[in-house]
Symmetry: C2
Subunit: 217 residues, 2 copies
DNA sequence: TTATTTTTTTAGATTTGTCTAAACATTTAG
DNA sequence: CTAAATGTTTAGACAAATCTAAAAAAATAA
């Protein structure tokens, strides 16, 4: 069994290699873990000894099949608990991330399966992220970042890639919630900010916001 | 905020002083924590520095008001999660203790209050133990151990003082579950074992079993 | 009340995850 | 292609929670 810390490292390595075949670098992990590169090096050696990652000095890290399975299981738990918090306990989508960060480390396979069943086997969490099934499989829904859309193009909001309360509250205030359809009106040359139409209202979002909004065309 | 370990020490000190005004001894804590007396001494010093317990060398430990409040809050969470596991996820009463030992350390006051509400403010957990309210108050239901009952006396099973799966499964097999009414038929002089009548059936329980069954007369 | 037993504490070591400072590799730029 | 900048690792230290072995205090018994 892994410690909470080890599980968090695996989860972060998983997320950092999700859209990317390359090995994950020490500094990238350090930033996400809010720790120092030296600490990461120590942990990478340890995870490597446990055969949860492949690691060569100066070459970065990759998950082994077992490491990946472990990471996906933590992610599965995180997302199921988020659904529980929103659907059953009436939390808002911007309130659940930190609590789920704790709950994801509860170690009881039976609990996870029963929770999944209790929630009627949800396919996505409150932020639109897919929930892996008990075998670690999840159906990949194709998406693009809002920043990739061109003038006149339109699509549906189907996810976000940033889960902080501040960001999600901001989206909510703008009316940019899951399932809403939007169309690009204009893209501002000057600062890259994007004018969009949502429910017949025209709003403006900065590039920084837009890059965390995931669209299905 | 306290570590899981500190919370477990506080909880154990609370339970050990529940039926007893005396200070709790090092060895008693060591046994419950499955650790060595030397480790307990170190932790008692630490908890004392944090003013969660009163501790003098060789004199044992007592909870301070803050220490007691902390312990009760952990117990509140443990018991609420047990209700959740049994009522919502259909676990059996003998399956929930270990999972609740993990869940009790999740730190989110908001989560606890919403869980309490979701469960409709239960007064007792699946083993009959009272659930403290958010102010740490719980109504004490008077009980006696089954071993205290005399020939011909009768009462209702309203709790157990041992939560291991093995013990609870055994009770279940004997039909000795919460709410059942029973009467003492005879008490065996030889080994102290007790013959009882439950639902018109006569069964025999050892003293060791009987002392963990709590009765309301 | 002295001696023995039990309980508790101290001293010193270990493991986990972290840190800083310095050394070492790799990449990038001139 | 060397030099500077960036990224990574090593060395040595620390705090938390634990351990063993030995010393000290308290309780019990003769």
């Amino acid at each position: 069994m892994q410690s909470f810390t080890e599980e968090n490292y695996l989860k972060i390595i998983y997320h950092l290699s999700e859209n990317n075949e390359e090995a994950v670098q020490t500094n990238a992990i350090a930033e996400k873990m809010q720790t120092k590169a030296a600490s990461v090096t120590d942990m990478l050696r340890k995870l490597s000894e446990k055969e949860l990652i492949l690691y060569k000095k100066y070459q970065g890290a990759r998950l082994t099949p077992i490491g990946r399975q472990t990471a996906i299981n933590v992610i599965r738990k995180h997302r199921l608990w988020e659904v529980f918090l929103v659907e059953k306990l009436n939390f808002k989508w911007d309130e659940v991330h930190d609590i789920a960060e704790e709950l994801e480390h509860i170690n009881s396979p039976e609990l996870v399966e029963r929770l999944d069943e209790f929630l009627a086997f949800p396919k996505n969490d409150p932020h639109g992220d897919p929930i892996p099934d008990k075998n670690g499989k999840f159906d990949f829904v194709p998406f693009v970042k809002l920043t990739k859309l061109k003038k006149e193009e339109s699509g549906l909001i189907m996810g976000v890639s940033e889960h902080s309360s501040a960001f999600l509250k901001h989206l909510e205030k703008l009316g940019l919630t899951l399932g809403k359809s939007l169309a690009i009106s204009t893209i501002n040359d000057f600062d890259g900010s994007i004018e969009i139409i949502v429910e017949n209202k025209r709003i403006s979002v900065t590039r920084e916001i837009a890059k965390h909004i995931l669209i299905r065309i």
